[in-house]
């Protein structure tokens, strides 16, 4: 087996981020479908929430880089 546990940890962190941002995107799509007029507001809030979830995932990446 090549590679390191740190890389494995980083990959696991990204699973959580992928699921989180997918849920956010899905919720945003549904909301836009129900109320197309509010698309701008929904989009803005979606981007903000996605950035915050990504920030949490990047904690995992940083710890992986530190541990390597």
């Amino acid at each position: 087996m090549t590679g390191s546990i740190a890389a494995l940890g980083a990959g696991l962190a990204v699973i959580g981020v992928g699921i989180g941002i997918g849920l956010i995107g899905g919720g945003a799509m549904e909301a836009i479908a129900r109320n197309p007029e509010a698309t701008g507001k929904i989009q803005t809030n979606m981007i903000i929430a996605a950035a915050l979830v990504e920030g949490a995932g990047l904690f995992g990446i940083v710890v992986a880089l530190l541990g390597n």
Binding site: G40, T44, I48, A51, L52, E54, L58
Partner: protein, 399 residues
């Protein structure tokens, strides 16, 4: 509609022609670099082949020595890290860089010399004598040089396994690449805003023209959507600080994406820089905390008394984790973006063929455009969260 401002901001300056030119430029530079390197690699391979066929073992040995394996991790880390000189390009295999001043606070006082005295050495084999003391540069960290070189010619005590250096270091307050880039971006920000401020003072009732017109929607966005919505009645005090944070982060992010001088320095991806920004947020938030803020932290109302001390501990740690997360979020986003871009460009060097370049260039273009979005978004998120924390600290209770 202020709620729609963020996507509008990204659409407004980028006309279709600008997008095309940007794309063309982004495609051209890696392609040029890639074709040069690929050609020289192919030439070396051809030479090696001919020599091995015609001559004896010594020529074959020489040929394999010429072709060093490309280590992408090392190259990428070198581009992300700070350095004492600003490396511009390689001319005929010789590095060309701008020498920056090395300023050290040593046991014997301040020592200043040009980083060119290290002669591009990063392995500690070249000793610089200055101010009566001797220094070496090992991976862009400056140490006091040992008197005698070890078996590898390095003037320092290095552990064989971990490559950790045991020598002492002076206080390094040099003008490094990141500091020089910071100074440059400060000049850019001043050039952007001082003329705008002057034009407002001269014609207070006229419609803004020139730089002021360019900058006004962004400033109004920060003032209204970020500061006023989140801080409340005393928001005007904090608008200058929020504007500074917003434009500082955005402009440094953008400059970090430019591949040539004076851009290309990874300033906001340097954790010391993001740490200082987070400390500013931390200080401003806690200095402006009112009684309700501290009350909620140490004695949260509306809970059973048994739980309150536990929550006090959690909330106290929360005072520190919030700016800490700001620091890590900005640092990791920007550094990860740079690593991805550099990895995609390195694809051509890893496969050592010019035919990978269409895929590499297209992927790099896509990721670079995404990085433009991330540059603006991370500036917005940092500023928004700072405003939210300040607003929470100053929130008046109205039960």
């Amino acid at each position: 509609m202020c709620g729609v401002s963020l996507p509008r901001i990204l659409q407004a300056p980028m006309t279709k022609l600008n997008c095309f030119l940007l794309g063309l430029f982004l495609m051209a530079s890696p392609a040029v670099l890639a074709s040069e390197e690929a050609h020289s690699a192919d030439e070396h391979a051809a030479e090696a082949h001919v020599h091995a066929a015609e001559h004896s073992d010594e020529h074959a040995a020489n040929a394999t020595e010429e072709k060093e394996a490309f280590n992408p991790a090392e190259v990428i880390m070198h581009h992300i890290a700070d350095s004492h000189g600003w490396h511009l390009f390689d001319w005929n295999d010789h590095p060309v860089s701008i020498p920056l001043p090395v300023i050290l606070f040593t046991e014997k006082g301040l020592v200043v010399f040009s980083s060119s005295e290290f002669d591009h050495d990063q392995e500690g084999t070249h000793v610089v004598e200055a101010g009566g003391q001797r220094f070496v540069n090992i991976h862009e960290k400056i140490y006091y040089a040992s008197d005698v070189a070890n078996d590898h010619g390095v003037f320092a005590e290095m552990d064989h396994e971990t490559h950790e250096v045991a020598n002492a270091t002076p206080w390094d307050i040099s003008i490094t690449k990141n500091v020089a880039a910071l100074l440059f971006s400060a000049v850019v920000i001043l050039l952007l805003f001082l003329p705008a401020a002057r034009s407002y003072k001269k014609n207070p009732n006229a419609a803004p023209k020139g730089v002021a017109g360019f900058v006004e929607p962004l400033v109004v966005f920060v003032r209204d959507d970020i500061a006023k919505n989140n801080i409340g009645p005393h928001y005007k005090r904090f608008v200058p600080m929020l504007l500074t944070i917003f434009f500082f982060i955005w402009i440094n992010n953008l400059l970090g994406l430019v591949p040539f001088f004076p851009g290309g320095a990874n300033v906001t991806g340097n954790i010391a820089v993001t740490m200082v920004l987070a400390i500013v947020t931390f200080v401003v938030t806690n200095v402006n905390g009112n009684k309700h803020y501290w009350g909620h932290i140490f004695w949260m109302p509306g809970l059973p008394v048994a739980v309150k001390p536990l929550l006090a501990i959690v909330e106290f740690v929360g005072i520190f984790t919030k700016p800490f997360s700001l620091m890590i979020r900005l640092f990791a986003n920007i550094t990860a973006g740079h690593i991805v871009v550099l990895s995609l460009v390195s694809l051509v060097f890893i496969f050592e063929t010019v035919w990978v370049s269409p895929a590499s260039v297209l992927l790099t273009l896509f990721i670079s455009v995404l990085e433009l979005l991330v540059a603006a978004l991370q500036a917005y998120i940092f500023t928004l969260l700072t405003a939210l924390y300040i607003g929470a600290a100053m929130h008046e209770e109205h039960h």
